[in-house]
């Protein structure tokens, strides 16, 4: 019987939902800002996974999961900064930020 109390299962469920939302956002939206937001969602879903595993499997003994989550947050921040820089130059270049307009790297 599922309850709303914080447990590993519930956390993983929320994380899975967040991942699905993020994936949909990344794959389905045209605006690259939305794309960035989707990526953030996916990353945070992963963070939630890491933290919940760390909390529920090894309560108050190991903090590996938490540390890893902090690494991912830092990584996400830097990724966002680079993404925004690319976005700005892209906007300067073609006045648009839609990803389906950007296919100059086609092989």
């Amino acid at each position: 019987m599922p309850t709303l109390a914080p447990s590993l299962n519930n956390c993983l469920l929320i994380s899975g939902l967040m991942f699905a939302c993020g994936l949909f956002c990344v794959l389905g939206r045209k605006n690259s800002v939305s794309l960035l937001m989707g990526v953030e969602l996916i990353l945070n879903a992963a963070n939630l996974n890491l933290v919940s595993f760390g909390t529920f499997l090894y309560p108050k003994t190991f903090y590996h999961g938490h540390c890893f989550a902090i690494f991912v947050i830092v990584l996400a921040a830097s990724e966002t900064a680079i993404f925004l820089a690319i976005l700005l130059s892209l906007y300067q270049y073609q006045e648009k930020v839609d990803v389906d307009e950007v296919h100059a790297l086609k092989g």
Binding site: L27, L35, V102, L105
Partner: protein
């Protein structure tokens, strides 16, 4: 051509009246100074070692040659004084070495290792014994005299300087050949002698005949040298060394142990002798020597007296112990044929130099015969005396040619009034070559005849029919040699009569004839003295010579050459003491094995003169006294008296034939018509040199051309077809391989490339450039991977 224009100009700048006189004066002064220095050197050199002196002696002419070739053109007088002074210094050293050896210095042999490859070690060195010392003296002295003579004879020649350079290298080669202790180096110098003669015979190479003659000399010598080389290789194969003394030491042991058969040794000996046949112009290969008369006359003198032809005889003398009795027989036979055959040809020649050339061939035959019959000392003594009088005769003929500007004796006559010095010198030379008592030729020729006489009385080598033939041959040697001596007198005086007596045939030429300059007549006078007195030996050396002679006797019995010298003077015996016959272990081996008394080696055939001398010296030697009581083994002077008679007959016969012309072909024909045809045939036979050249042309050259044609046909029709067939087959093969390459290998390579292209073409459709497309792909790949992992892990994930 550039040189030809250049040199006279250089000469001219010095050659005007005043400078020319100056240079002559300087030359005279330098010659006198060199003479003085040389004479003092002989004493001063005493502490100087003989091998060093010998090396310096050999090297000097080489230095002169190099100088002459490099800077000779720029030197005053075109550098003739360089060659002259080099040979003169060599001569001084040669005289010194000669007297050192004559005074009793032991033979010197010094050597060092030259090449060492693995176990093969080749040593070179200097070997000075009596024979070498005599040769050194002869070569340097006659060479020097000829250098001097050439200054007159060759003056004005456009290649004057070069001529002296060539003379120098000729002397260098011959000297090197004489001093070496080693077969290999001897061969090297042997070939150098050949090269030098080639350069000098063809000196006037603008004349086609001269160029042809030099080529002929060179090629004919090569024929003999092949034999020499093979013999040398065989000796090296057997003994493993090139050094003479070691070869002589090892061969008897090898024969003793049966490692080599006597037949092999005989063949090797005869092969080595082939070299001498070529160089010393013996019978089958004598054709080059008369043609070599195309060279300048001083060169002819040098070739005939001191260098080229002497090399062959010297070589046989040097390698004397390697010959077996059979080989000696072959040598004697060749020598005898040559002596007789060339002597008769000389009778019918009209070219003054050709008469002398055939006379040389004949005298060389004499020497070789002497060596072949065991008259070692006699043969080599004749080589020494012959060198002087033949050089003299050639230089005289050069003087005559210089005066008359012709070599044909039919154009001469009555010249003795015009050329008194030349005439006197030539008469002396002729007397010497005929062997008139008192001249040097008498001693040497009689020595040979006595050796031949003694040879005839030896028991034959074989028994049965071969023995009879052998015995006939042994007796024949003496009689044929005797007849050849008469023939020598006949043709020599024919030359004198035709050239210097009778009426001048061409008055214009006779009127213009004049005696040669002093630089040419001085050598004639010098050589005349030697031609007269070489046989007598050297005054003042008597005691030491006797001592040498006694030593020689104590060691080895020399054949009977001595008795005729006792007709002359006691101190004529310097030579046998100096050049004594080496031990002949191979012949001794035969003597033991076959019980044959051969080659006069037996103790009891010891020479009379030697035993008598020994007795007069109070048995000083003290050895062989047991045989001293047998002087009757050779008591008679038969050969000597016979020789004088025969020479006298030859001389007397030549007077009516060529001086008074009472006996001619025509006069005989009128008296005895039956004799006419054979005599005419004989005359044309002799005039055409027994048609040997024609025979060679027919047999060798024409056959060669025929073979050439056959080979050409074979080449064109067989070889070329095979080659072309191969080429065609190969072409087809390559065409096939080309197809294989084009369709097989290239096909494979292209297929792979096309595949890659096709795959790439498909793959590029994925590369849309749209980020989300990639993400979709990666999403599905991750899903797929997860599903796969699920399967692989068997549902345990």
């Amino acid at each position: 051509m550039h040189d030809d224009h250049d040199q006279p100009r250089i000469g001219d700048s010095h050659g005007e009246s005043a400078p020319s006189l100056f240079w002559h004066f300087l030359l005279a002064i330098s010659i006198i100074a060199a003479l003085a220095v040389g004479v003092s050197l002989v004493e001063w050199l005493q502490p100087f070692s003989i091998p060093t002196a010998a090396v310096v002696l050999v090297a000097l002419p080489l230095v002169a040659f190099t100088t002459q070739m490099l800077v000779g053109r720029f030197l005053p007088r075109k550098g003739d004084w360089v060659s002259l002074s080099a040979i003169f210094l060599s001569c001084v050293l040669g005289v010194w070495i000669f007297f050192s050896i004559l005074r009793g210095t032991a033979p010197v042999h010094s050597q060092f290792e030259w090449i060492k490859v693995g176990l093969v070690s080749i040593k070179i060195g200097v070997n000075i014994d009596g024979l070498t010392a005599v040769m050194l003296f002869i070569v340097t002295f006659i060479g020097g005299v000829i250098h001097l003579y050439s200054m007159g004879y060759m003056s004005g020649d456009p290649r004057y300087g070069r001529f002296f350079g060539f003379l120098s290298i000729f002397c260098f080669s011959m000297l090197g050949l004489v001093v070496t202790d080693n077969l290999l180096i001897l061969y090297v110098f042997w070939e150098l002698v050949g090269l030098s003669s080639y350069l000098l015979i063809g000196f006037w190479y603008e004349k086609k005949s001269a160029a042809d003659a030099s080529m002929k000399a060179f090629l004919t010598n090569r024929v003999g040298d092949i034999g020499f080389f093979m013999g040398m290789a065989a000796l090296y194969q057997w003994t493993g060394t090139f050094v003479f003394s070691e070869i002589f030491e090892k061969l008897p042991h090898l024969l003793e142990s049966g490692a080599i058969s006597p037949l092999k040794l005989t063949v090797a000996g005869l092969a080595v002798f082939c070299g001498a046949i070529g160089k010393s112009a013996q019978f089958p290969l004598h054709v080059w020597l008369p043609d070599a008369m195309e060279g300048p006359t001083p060169v002819s003198a040098l070739i005939h007296a001191a260098t080229m032809v002497a090399a062959g005889v010297y070589m046989v003398g040097r390698l004397y112990p390697i010959f077996t009795p059979e080989a000696f027989m072959g040598i004697a036979l060749i020598g005898l044929i040559t002596a007789f055959f060339a002597g008769t040809i000389a009778i019918a020649q009209n070219d003054i130099k050709r008469v002398l050339a055939y006379s040389t061939v004949s005298q060389l035959g004499y020497m070789i015969t002497a060596l072949g019959i065991g008259g070692y000392t006699a043969g080599l003594f004749h080589l020494s005396t012959h060198a002087f009088f033949k050089a003299l005769l050639f230089l005289c003929s050069g003087s005559v040619i210089h005066a008359v500007h012709s070599q044909d004796m039919r154009e001469m006559g009555g010249l003795w009034r015009k050329l008194p010095i030349t005439f006197t010198a030539m008469l002396i030379g002729t007397l010497a070559i005929c062997g008139v008592p008192g001249t040097s030729g008498f001693y040497s020729k009689d020595a040979i005849l006595e050796a031949a006489y003694e040879f005839g009385h030896r028991p034959p080598l074989y028994s049965g029919i071969a023995g009879t033939l052998c015995s006939i041959f042994q007796h024949g040697v003496f009689w044929l040699a005797l007849i050849a001596a008469g023939v020598t007198a006949f043709y020599s005086f024919r030359l004198i009569w035709m050239t210097f007596f009778g009426t001048p045939k061409f008055p214009a030429k006779y009127a213009r004839a004049h005696e040669s300059p002093a630089v040419m007549t001085a050598p004639l006078i010098l050589l005349s003295v030697f031609a007269l007195f070489t046989g007598l030996g050297f005054l003042g050396q008597e005691s030491s010579v006797k001592q040498c002679w006694a030593q020689a006797n104590s060691r080895e019995k020399v054949a009977s050459e001595v008795s005729s010298w006792r007709l002359g003077l006691q101190w004529g015996m310097w030579y046998p003491g100096l050049v004594e016959r080496p031990r002949l272990p191979l012949v001794e081996h035969y003597k033991d094995k076959l019980g044959m008394r051969w080659a006069g080696l037996e103790e009891d055939s010891g020479p009379v003169g030697a035993t008598e001398l020994r007795r007069t010296e109070g048995e000083a030697a003290g050895v062989g006294s047991g045989h001293a009581g047998k002087p009757e083994s050779m008591p008679d002077h038969t050969p000597g008296i016979l020789a004088i008679t025969v020479v006298l007959i030859g001389f007397l016969l030549s007077i009516p034939c060529f001086l008074t012309r009472t006996i001619t072909l025509e006069s005989i024909e009128t008296i005895m018509p039956a004799l006419g045809r054979p005599l005419r045939f004989l005359h044309s036979l002799l005039e055409n040199k027994y048609y040997v050249d024609e025979f060679y042309r027919l047999v060798f050259i024409d056959t060669l051309l025929l073979v050439n044609e056959c080979v050409k046909w074979f080449d064109q029709n067989i070889i070329d077809r095979i080659v072309n067939g191969c080429a065609h087959a190969f072409r087809d093969l390559t065409a096939f391989v080309g197809k294989l390459d084009l369709f097989g290998v290239d096909g494979l390579v292209n297929w792979i490339a096309n595949m890659a292209l096709a795959v790439g073409d498909r793959m590029r459709t994925f590369q849309t450039g749209l980020v989300q497309g990639y993400l979709v792909h990666s999403f599905w790949v991750v899903v797929l991977a997860l599903v796969l992992l699920q399967f692989l892990a068997g549902g345990n994930l």
